[in-house]
C-alpha cells in the first residue's frame, strides 16, 4: 500500500466516485436528483482533470458541466415531469447490448493507448512539440494552451465561436428570448395572421396546467 503514489490513489478514488455517481444516476427516478448528480459527476471529472494536469479542461468542465448545463437541465426539467417513468425490461435489452459491445471495444482499445505523460505519444510528438517550441520564440506567452487556442489554431477557435453563436441563434429562432414563440402577429397582404398559440390561447393554458 505504501508504494502506491498519492496522485494515483487520488485518481482511483475519483474514478470510483464517478462510477458510484453514474450508477446512482441510472438507478434514480427523480429527475431533480439526477440533474444534481450530473453536476456532481462534472465536478468530480473536473477534479480528476486537475489531477491529470489538464487545468484548462478542468476549468471548462467545472464551469460548463457543473454550472451552466445543470441550470439548463433544471430549466428543461421544469417544463416536463419531475419523475421519470420506469421503462420495461424488454425495452432496455437493446441498449444493454449496445453498451456492452461499446464497453468491450473500449477495453480492447486500452492496449493501444499511450502511457500517461508519454513524450513519444502522437499528442506530444510532431506538432505538439513544435507548438511548444514556437510559443517560446514567436508568441512569448507563459500559457501554451492559450497560444495554441487563439493563435496557432485561430481558425478552429473561430469555428467554435461560430458554433456557439449558431447554437444561441437556433434557440432564439425556435423559442425567442421572451418565450413568445407562437405569439407573433403579422399582416402579409393586408390580412391579419397570428401564431397558433395566440388564436387558441385558452385551450393552450388549459393544457399547461
Amino acid at each position: 500500500m505504501s508504494n502506491i503514489p498519492p496522485t494515483l490513489m487520488l485518481d482511483m478514488g475519483l474514478m470510483a466516485m464517478l462510477l458510484v455517481v453514474a450508477f446512482a444516476v441510472v438507478r434514480l427516478r427523480s429527475l431533480f436528483a439526477i440533474v444534481m448528480l450530473q453536476g456532481v459527476y462534472s465536478l468530480l471529472s473536473a477534479a480528476w482533470f486537475v489531477s491529470l494536469d489538464a487545468v484548462d479542461v478542468a476549468f471548462t468542465e467545472a464551469a460548463v458541466g457543473a454550472g451552466i448545463s445543470t441550470v439548463l437541465m433544471l430549466g428543461a426539467m421544469l417544463l416536463t415531469e419531475r419523475e421519470a417513468k420506469p421503462v420495461a425490461m424488454q425495452k432496455q435489452l437493446g441498449s444493454l447490448f449496445i453498451v456492452t459491445i461499446t464497453g468491450l471495444a473500449l477495453f480492447y482499445a486500452i492496449g493501444d493507448m499511450p502511457a500517461f505523460g508519454d513524450a513519444h505519444s502522437a499528442a506530444n510528438a510532431y506538432v505538439g512539440s513544435d507548438y511548444i517550441a514556437a510559443t517560446k520564440n514567436n508568441i512569448i506567452l507563459p500559457n501554451v494552451v492559450t497560444a495554441v487556442l487563439a493563435s496557432f489554431r485561430g481558425y478552429d477557435t473561430f469555428g467554435e465561436v461560430v458554433v456557439i453563436y449558431m447554437a444561441g441563434l437556433g434557440i432564439l429562432l425556435l423559442l425567442g428570448l421572451n418565450g413568445n414563440a407562437g405569439k407573433w402577429r403579422a399582416q402579409p397582404n393586408g390580412q391579419d395572421v397570428a401564431g397558433n398559440r395566440n388564436s387558441n390561447a385558452d385551450s393552450e393554458a388549459g393544457d399547461k396546467s
Binding site: D56, V162, G168, G179
Partner: protein, 147 residues
C-alpha cells in the same frame, strides 16, 4: 418579503465577486488557465444566478434581451474583424504578427489574442444567457415546493 432571505443576501455578496472572477479569468488567460470560453461561462453564470434568485424579469431589466442579441453577433464580428484587420495590414487571416511587425516581444500576437478572446467572451456570455432566457421564459415560476 420573499422567504429566501439567506439566499438573497449571500448571492448579492457573491454575484459581483463571480463577475470579477470572470474578468480575472479573461485577462489572466495568457498567464494561467482560463480564457474567453471559461470567462464567458462564468460571467453568464453570475447573470443566471441573479435571475434564479431575483426572478427572470429583474434579470431582464439588468441585462436586457436586446444586449444579449447584439452581444452574440458582436463577439463573432470582433473575432472575424481581427482576422480582416490582419488582412488589411498585409498578412494572412488571423496572423496577428502584422499588428506590430517590428516588435521583439511579440506584441502583435498579444494584441491579437487579446482581441480574439474578447470576441469569444462576448459571444459565449451572450449565447449562454440567451439560451437561459429562452428556456427560463417558457418555464412556469418556481413554486416553494420546488425549492
Amino acid at each position: 418579503m420573499s422567504p429566501h432571505v439567506i439566499l438573497r443576501v449571500v448571492s448579492k455578496l457573491l454575484i459581483p465577486l463571480i463577475a470579477l472572477f470572470a474578468l480575472y479569468v479573461q485577462f489572466h488567460g495568457d498567464f494561467g488557465p482560463g480564457g474567453g470560453f471559461q470567462a464567458g461561462v462564468i460571467f453568464a453564470s453570475s447573470i443566471i444566478l441573479y435571475a434564479l434568485i431575483f426572478g427572470l424579469d429583474e434579470a431582464k431589466r439588468a441585462v436586457p434581451p436586446s444586449w444579449v442579441r447584439i452581444g452574440m453577433t458582436l463577439g463573432v464580428l470582433i473575432y472575424g474583424g481581427t482576422g480582416v484587420a490582419t488582412w488589411m495590414l498585409g498578412g494572412e487571416f488571423l496572423n496577428y504578427t502584422y499588428f506590430a511587425p517590428q516588435s521583439t516581444h511579440a506584441a502583435g500576437q498579444h494584441w491579437g489574442i487579446f482581441a480574439v478572446e474578447l470576441g469569444v467572451l462576448c459571444t459565449v456570455t451572450s449565447a449562454m444567457v440567451a439560451i437561459f432566457y429562452a428556456f427560463g421564459s417558457r418555464a412556469p415560476e418556481l413554486t416553494d415546493e420546488d425549492w
